[in-house]
Symmetry: C2
Subunit: 199 residues, 2 copies
């Protein structure tokens, strides 16, 4: 270690982020010294702390929000009969960007993956089963990823809901097989939702 | 914008770093929410502010340091007769990592590049001319990058020093032409320094 301690510390912090190795972290740390002014550093630092203190999961749908329940769950103009089930909050942001879906969401916080130790109790299922008891809910749209884990999760939801008077659909059109929702563009996501099929 | 304001702010801060676009910044911001715990966020935030408040340029050599003059300039065991001239502090860290050079450094903070508006006054030359007046200095080793700008900078130094009784050398062996020192490995840098040639 030949960096001054303060620089070394910042390098190690950057390395905690995904895809940032030692060389990239060194680059960002030196960039912080040379190109980020004091005000920007303060703004970055405050933004990070503010995110940690203010962003929580919505107690109804599990989406990330700064108010609880989130602004989607409490919006009376949203279609209260539809719940679109996704793996991550990132997926909600992606679908909202497409602007074509006006129902509610449910964020599972992952997909079933016994190989990786993700089981039923690790995902946000219980609150979904409670939500579907509400008579106003008439359709569950499953938008888990088209991966093995995403499909297994979809099958599980379908199975649990099979005895309930509720339509269960799965987005289908356009989402590339083997891909994550995160990388789909807005148009693909819009069409995937419009072209959902009975599941 | 459909992200909560706090998240959006953090995304924008990440985007100030080189090579971080919107999608990557979103990924890092969401990673901050989901995978970085409160203590780590605090540590990151403090590390960034500490770097801004404590890391300065050494008033002698221009290297980044938390004490002024830096620990290299004030180390009595370093060879005081040699000054190795580099473009950036990053280059000093890279060469120090190789462990084969034991002289002093001089950081120019860039290379001459009239096309990009980098002229003589923008680089740390004046303090170099003052340092070479010291009789103890017998050799200037130029280790600017093997780019057009790095070569122009080397030529300029050579020209200014031509009437002074001082050896001017240029590292040569191993540094790939067209490349930056930053990407050279320790061994390549060691050999480049050992195999320097009269300039």
């Amino acid at each position: 270690m030949n960096y001054p301690q303060a620089l070394e510390n910042l390098i190690l912090e950057f390395m905690k982020y995904p895809g940032i190795g030692r060389k990239t972290a060194e680059r960002y740390a030196l960039f912080s010294v040379n190109k980020i002014d004091d005000d920007s550093a303060k703004a970055f630092s405050e933004a990070l702390l503010k995110v940690k203190s203010s962003i929580k999961q919505c107690s109804i749908c599990g989406h990330l929000t700064d108010v609880d329940p989130c602004s989607i769950c409490t919006n009376p103009h949203r279609n209260q009969t539809q719940i679109l089930v996704v793996e991550t909050a990132k997926d909600v942001f992606s679908i909202e960007k497409s602007g074509r879906y006006h129902g509610l969401y449910h964020v599972l916080n992952g997909a079933l993956s016994p190989m990786n130790g993700v089981g039923l109790d690790d995902l946000n299922f219980q609150s979904l089963w409670i939500r579907v008891q509400n008579d106003i809910v008439s359709e569950i749209i499953i938008a888990t990823s088209a991966t093995q884990e995403g499909e297994a999760t979809a099958m599980y939801i379908k199975r649990v809901l099979k005895d309930i008077e509720i339509k269960v659909s799965r987005i289908g059109y356009g989402v590339p097989v083997g891909g994550n929702l995160e990388f789909a563009d807005s148009e693909t996501l819009s069409r995937a939702i419009e072209n959902r099929r009975e599941f």
